[in-house]
Amino acid sequence: MTAGGIPGREREHEADRPRVGRPPKRAVGRAPAGFVLLAALAVAFLAIPLIGLVLRTPWRRLPSDLVAPGVPTALRLSLECSLAAVAVSALLGIPLAWLLARVKFPGRNLVRALVTLPMVLPPVVGGVALLLAFGRRGLVGQWLDRWLHVTLPFSTTATVMAEAFVAMPFLVITVEAGLRAMDRRYEDAAATLGAVRWTTFRRVTLPLIAPSLGAGAALCWARALGEFGATITFAGNLPGSTQTMPLAVYLALETNPEAAIALSLVMLILSLAVLVALRDRWFPTS
């Protein structure tokens, strides 16, 4: 990959090169005991809950828990909504990333900050904001309601919107970085061959940033799948139309803890799958 522009791979390439001229490796000194202790505590703190989840999983009942009433529905709804959120994020986010990476326009940094904000905003605040904007009396919602008779809150559409709101920034930021790192002369080459900008984008730019796009989409999807706060605030918790997996887990914890554990395990496995898919990017072989 010469132009994919994914930092991870580039580092990998560097590692392939002969290590001429590098300073000799320093002998690993003895680690300070205090550090080792605290680091071990950190690992334990992160790992024990997950181990607990796996150990407490009622394996024998798992098959029946996974098909218990409401569970397959929540699972299906979660997958559908999160994939729809990724699709919306890609459709709107890729052009946005392109503009941020390629066009110098006034207020670009402001736009970038605005786009990044949902990443740090408490999701429940995002949900409140969505409600105030798209609710029946909201800034935009009242007009949608009056003119188009469209009511967004507490619908599946609202679930997708809530998920896209919190997840899109991950895709935008990752794709923008990919576009910046890519060798733009490939686009020049395409233009000299007679390709109009759309053809160039479709046949050269997108394939060259495919690794970044894949990583961005995976991050976006993982975030959308786990979305809780904004969803419950803006879309509510209606089984079958807005109750996604995280909501179902939370609810099941009170009535049917075993089912909650089973559902959590499914989410853990999905998260691990994302991690494995992105391992090249985050853990370049060093």
């Binding site: 020049d188 080459a189 233009a191 000299t192 061959l193 007679g194 390709a195």
Partner: protein, 352 residues
């Protein structure tokens, strides 16, 4: 003229202000030191960099004219480009790379692939059609880049240092290959290089670009015999002088005089060249026929084949080429004063 261009633009610290004209079907080579705007000029002709001021006309079609606000975008110019590191699309196969331009111009997939396959066959690369560019050798990649650029049937072919990425051993053969392919191309060709051998062997017309300006242009033999800048003079290994011709002698900027047999035909500003082999060195001031004798000291000694190139510093700086025996006999490296002499008949004079 097939290509006529006047290109003015500013890029960083480089102020490009070049005018060039190339006849139909000719190979023009743009030669110049590094970072003098050669690549930028090429990119401007391809429409990848907008002109601040100027005009580009190709076969009577105006591609760009800042005064008339005409600017044909890159994708609509009948111009093919072979980029310096070829820029073959890494995600496409070799065949798809060559077919790219045809597809982009609306040819059906099957037809474009057939056409691309023909081009690969012509380049002797039929076996590589399904490979990724990464799997190609440098020479193969160059031919694919050439095939990709030529497949769209451009009227102007631009090549940016097409041989720079090659190792020296492969260059001779690749140069021969390239000349063959360029000869069978009927459009106009402009190639950038900083390698004088490439320039002299491939060019019908040589255009020298220095500091964003064309300093010299013409047939390679004429340019190399009549350098008009220190860069070209050094390239072809001649001593170049510039001064005013008056009464059979040339007055140099330092007040020295250069006597030339044919200086009488000129008056006013002239160039004069002297071959290094025609410069004689002496330990004592020579008596006799040489009309030009200057005192100086040896600044540097270089081996050049079986001869030694001697850089002489003094009121007049010049390079002499002498035999190793002469270096030893005259003890040229002892730092003492020497005398350089040039016969008036060895000085070639031409107007600026």
């Amino acid at each position: 003229m097939s290509l006529e261009a006047r290109v003015q633009l500013q890029k960083g610290t480089l102020a490009l202000d070049a005018e060039l004209a190339v006849s139909h079907g000719q190979v023009a080579v743009l030669l110049g030191p590094n970072a003098t705007g050669k690549t930028t000029l090429l990119r401007a002709l391809a429409g990848l960099v907008p002109l601040a001021n100027g005009r580009v006309v190709l076969e009577d079609a105006v591609l760009e004219d800042t005064e008339a606000s005409v600017r044909v975008p890159t994708e609509h110019r009948p111009v093919g480009v072979v980029f310096q590191d070829y820029l073959l699309f890494p995600h496409l196969t070799v065949l798809e790379n060559v077919a790219f331009g045809l597809r982009a111009r609306g040819m059906a997939r099957g037809k474009a692939r057939g056409c691309a396959a023909e081009w690969l066959a012509r380049m002797g690369l039929s076996a590589q059609g399904g490979a990724r560019p990464k799997a190609l050798s440098g020479g193969q990649a160059q031919r694919v880049a050439l095939a990709r650029a030529l497949a769209t049937d451009p009227r102007l072919l631009l090549l940016d240092e097409p041989l720079a990425a090659m190792d020296a051993g492969a260059r001779v053969e690749l140069r021969r290959d390239l000349r063959r392919h360029l000869a069978s191309y009927e459009g106009t060709c402009l190639m950038v290089t900083h390698d004088p051998i490439e320039a002299l062997t491939l060019a019908d017309q040589l255009i020298v670009l220095e500091d964003g300006r064309v300093t010299q242009s013409g047939a390679p033999a004429h340019v190399s015999a009549h350098p008009r800048s220190r860069y070209v003079a050094e390239l072809v290994g001649l001593n170049l002088f510039q001064g005013r011709a008056e009464g059979g002698a040339i007055e140099l900027p330092g007040g020295q005089h250069l006597v030339a047999a044919d200086a009488g035909q000129f008056s006013g500003d002239v160039f004069a060249v002297v071959r290094p082999q025609a410069v004689a060195l002496h330990r004592v001031r020579p008596e006799g026929s040489p009309r030009n004798v200057w005192r100086g000291s040896v600044e540097n000694l270089d081996v050049a084949g079986e001869r030694i190139r001697v850089q002489v510093a003094g009121a007049v700086r010049l390079i002499a080429e002498v035999t190793p025996a002469a270096v030893a006999e005259l003890h040229l490296d002892d730092g003492g004063p020497i005398w350089a002499s040039v016969k008036a008949t060895e000085v070639t004079v031409y107007p600026t």
